[in-house]
C-alpha cells in the first residue's frame, strides 16, 4: 500500500519537524518574537485550511470566518476562566460551539449562492461580533481579559497537523467528493443524486468548527479575547491566504499562511504598508493568476519528481 506508506512518511516528517522546533525553542535559539510568529503561522494554517474547505473545495463563498473564530475564542475562554475547566475541554467546547453556530447559520443561508452568500456571511460575522460587544458577561467592548496562556507550540502544532489531516481525509472521502461536485456544477451534482444542501452545510459546519479551534488557541495565547480582533478585516486576512495559496489546495493554503504571516511579521514596524502590500498582492494575483499560486494542485514530492524528470502528465492525483 503506497498510500499507507506515504501517510507514515508524512507523520514521521511532522514529528521530526516538531522535535527540531521544540528543541530550538527549549534551547532559546528561537526567541519570543519568532515563537509568536510560529504560533500565528499555525493558527493561520488552521483558519486558512478550514476556510478553504468551504470556499475552495465546496465553492461556497464565505467571508465571515472571523465570526466563528470569535465564538471559539469566547466560548473557550468562558470554559477555562469562568468554569475552570481544562484546556482540552475549552478547545473541544470552542469547536463545538462554533460548529453548531455554523450549522444553524449554514442551514438557511447556504440556499443563497455566490455574491449573496458572500455578503450574508460577512453580515453574520459582524452580527456575531456586535452581539459579543454587547454581552457584559464576557467583557463587552473592553474584551475578555485574564485568560491564562495555555496555548504553546506543542498544542498549536499538533492541532494544526490534526486539522490538515482531518480536512485532507474529508476531501478524499465520499463526502469530500460530493463537496467538490457541488463546486464543479451544482445542478449536475443534484442530478446525480448528491444532496447539495447537506454537503454545503456539512462543509460549512466543519470549517466553522476548526475556526473555533483556531479562536480558542488564539485567545489562550494572547491572554485576551477582544471583539476588535474579529472584525471582517480578519476574515479578509484569512481569505487572502486562501486565495493566494489557491482555492482548493491545502498545501497552497499552508504555504501562503507561512509566507503571509512572515511577510506581515517583517512589516510589523510599518503596519500601513502591510495592508497595502496585502491588497496589491490580492489584485495582482487575481489579475495574473486568478486560480492562486498553486491553483487546485497539491504540492507533493511526486510533483517535484515530475518537474525534474520533465515527464508532464496532465493530471495530478489528490494524494
Amino acid at each position: 500500500m503506497g498510500n499507507n506508506k506515504q501517510v507514515w512518511q508524512s507523520l514521521l516528517a511532522c514529528i521530526a519537524v516538531y522535535a527540531v522546533m521544540q528543541t530550538l525553542i527549549t534551547l532559546d535559539v528561537i526567541g519570543p518574537f519568532w515563537q509568536l510568529n510560529i504560533v500565528l503561522v499555525c493558527i493561520n494554517i488552521i483558519l486558512a485550511v478550514s476556510l478553504n474547505l468551504i470556499n475552495g473545495f465546496t465553492g461556497q463563498f464565505s467571508i465571515g470566518h472571523a465570526g466563528f473564530m470569535a465564538v471559539g475564542a469566547y466560548v473557550g475562554a468562558i470554559l477555562t476562566v469562568k468554569l475552570q475547566l481544562p484546556f482540552i475541554v475549552a478547545i473541544v467546547g470552542g469547536a463545538a460551539a462554533a460548529g453548531f453556530l455554523g450549522f444553524l447559520i449554514g442551514l438557511p443561508t447556504l440556499r443563497l449562492d455566490g455574491d449573496y452568500l458572500a455578503i450574508a456571511t460577512l453580515g453574520l460575522g459582524e452580527i456575531i461580533r456586535i452581539t459579543i460587544l454587547n454581552i457584559p458577561y464576557v467583557g463587552g467592548a473592553s474584551g475578555f481579559m485574564g485568560i491564562p496562556r495555555y496555548t504553546n507550540f506543542t498544542w498549536v502544532f499538533f492541532l494544526t497537523v490534526f486539522t490538515v489531516l482531518f480536512i485532507r481525509n474529508f476531501i478524499n472521502s465520499t463526502h469530500g467528493r460530493a463537496c467538490i461536485s457541488v463546486r464543479e456544477n451544482q445542478i449536475a451534482a443534484e442530478a446525480m443524486g448528491v444532496d447539495t444542501t447537506k454537503y454545503k452545510v456539512m462543509a460549512f459546519t466543519i470549517g466553522a468548527a476548526f475556526a473555533g479551534v483556531a479562536g480558542t488557541l488564539f485567545a489562550h495565547y494572547f491572554y485576551i479575547a477582544h471583539p476588535a480582533s474579529f472584525t471582517f478585516m480578519k476574515s479578509f486576512d484569512i481569505l487572502t491566504i486562501v486565495v493566494l495559496g489557491g482555492l482548493g489546495s491545502i498545501s497552497g493554503s499552508i504555504m501562503a499562511a507561512i509566507l503571509l504571516t512572515f511577510i506581515s511579521a517583517a512589516l510589523a514596524g510599518y503596519p500601513e504598508w502591510r495592508m497595502i502590500i496585502y491588497s496589491l498582492t490580492l489584485i495582482i494575483v487575481m489579475i495574473y493568476r486568478p486560480q492562486g499560486l498553486f491553483g487546485n494542485k497539491e504540492i507533493s514530492l511526486k510533483m517535484f519528481g515530475r518537474l525534474m524528470g520533465g515527464n508532464k502528465r496532465g493530471t495530478t492525483e489528490g494524494n
Binding site: 449573496y116 453580515g123 456586535i130 460587544l133 479578509f236 500601513e272 497595502i276 486568478p290
Partner: protein, 297 residues
C-alpha cells in the same frame, strides 16, 4: 421639555430620512454597477471616502464654496471610478466571478490603507460651510444640514432618473444591463457604457461623502467601510440592479437604523442593518422591488 412617544418617533423619522438619503446615494452606485456587470463593487464605499477627502481639500485648501466643491469631488471620484474599473476589473471581465469579487476587496483595502498612508489615519474636521441653523417645531428639531442633505440627494436622484430614462446613454445602460451580448450586437460600445456607469456611480458616492462630511464634521480614511456595507444592504433591500429600489432601500434602511438607535440601543444600530440583510436574503432575495427570476440550466 417632555418628549412624547409620537414626537420622538417623528424626530427619529427625520433623522432616519436624512441618513437614509445618504445610503441611497451610495446604494445607487452599487446597484448600477451590479446591474451591468454583476459585481459587488466592494471599493464603492471607499470612493465615497475619496469624495469626502476631495471635498475637504477643495473647501480648505482651495477655499471653494459648497457647490463647486461638490462638483469637484464628484468629478475626481468619477475619474477614480473609471480608472479602477479600467485597471482592476476590466482584465477580469471574463474571469470567474469569485476572482473579480476578491479583486474588488483588494481595491477596497488599497484605497483604505493608501488613504491612511497618504492622508494619515487621524480624523479631520470638516469645515462648517453653512451656519447650522436649527428649526424647532414644537419639540421636533430639524437643522439646515438635514434639509441640505435631503435636497441635494433628491436632486441628484432626479437627475439620475432623467439620465437613465431619457437620454441615449441611459438607454444604452439599460440595454447592457438587460442583455450585454445583444447590446453588443446592436452596436453599443459596452466597455464605454461600463466606464460611464462607474463614473456616475462614483460621482454619486462622492456627493454622499461630502454631505456626510458636512453633517458629521469629521472624515477619516476608513469612513467608507461601514456606510459602504450598509449601502450594499440598502441596495439588496430594494432589489439589487433596480435603481428605484436603491433609493427606497436606502431611505428605509436609514429610518430603521434611526428607530433602532432611538428606541432600542445605538450599539445595535449596525447589527440591525445586517439582520435586515439576512432576513431579506432569506425571504425575498430579489429585494422589495425585485421580480423573482428562476435559475436556468
Amino acid at each position: 421639555m417632555e418628549f412624547t412617544f409620537t414626537q420622538q418617533l417623528v424626530q427619529q423619522l427625520i433623522n432616519g430620512i436624512s441618513l437614509g438619503s445618504i445610503y441611497a446615494l451610495i446604494a445607487l452606485g452599487y446597484t448600477m454597477v451590479y446591474g451591468i456587470i454583476k459585481l459587488i463593487n466592494f471599493a464603492h464605499g471607499d470612493i465615497y471616502m475619496v469624495g469626502a477627502y476631495v471635498a475637504f481639500f477643495a473647501t480648505t485648501s482651495l477655499n471653494l464654496s459648497f457647490f463647486p466643491a461638490l462638483l469637484l469631488a464628484m468629478v475626481v471620484a468619477a475619474i477614480f471610478g473609471v480608472i479602477i474599473e479600467r485597471l482592476a476589473y476590466r482584465p477580469l471581465r471574463y474571469a470567474p466571478r469569485i476572482a473579480i469579487l476578491i479583486t474588488a476587496i483588494g481595491v477596497s483595502l488599497l484605497l483604505e490603507y493608501g488613504g491612511i498612508l497618504l492622508l494619515s489615519p487621524q480624523p479631520r474636521t470638516f469645515p462648517a460651510l453653512f451656519n447650522a441653523e436649527v428649526y424647532t417645531f414644537g419639540n421636533i428639531v430639524v437643522n439646515s444640514q438635514q434639509i441640505l442633505i435631503l435636497a441635494v440627494a433628491l436632486s441628484l436622484m432626479v437627475i439620475l432618473t432623467y439620465v437613465v430614462q431619457r437620454t441615449k446613454i441611459g438607454k444604452a445602460m439599460r440595454a447592457v444591463s438587460f442583455d450585454t451580448d445583444a447590446a453588443k450586437l446592436m452596436g453599443i460600445d459596452v466597455d464605454r457604457v461600463i466606464s460611464i456607469t462607474f463614473a456616475i456611480g462614483s460621482a454619486l458616492a462622492a456627493a454622499a461623502g461630502m454631505l456626510v462630511g458636512v453633517y458629521y464634521n469629521s472624515i477619516d480614511p476608513l469612513m467608507g467601510i461601514l456606510p459602504g456595507l450598509k449601502a450594499f444592504v440598502a441596495a439588496v433591500l430594494g432589489g439589487i440592479g433596480i435603481i428605484p429600489g436603491a433609493m427606497v432601500g436606502g431611505i428605509l434602511l436609514g429610518i430603521i437604523e434611526a428607530l433602532v438607535s432611538g428606541f432600542i440601543s445605538s450599539t445595535f444600530r449596525d447589527a440591525a442593518a445586517f439582520a435586515i440583510l439576512i432576513i431579506i436574503l432569506l425571504f425575498k432575495p430579489s429585494g422589495l422591488l425585485g421580480k423573482n427570476v428562476r435559475e436556468k440550466v
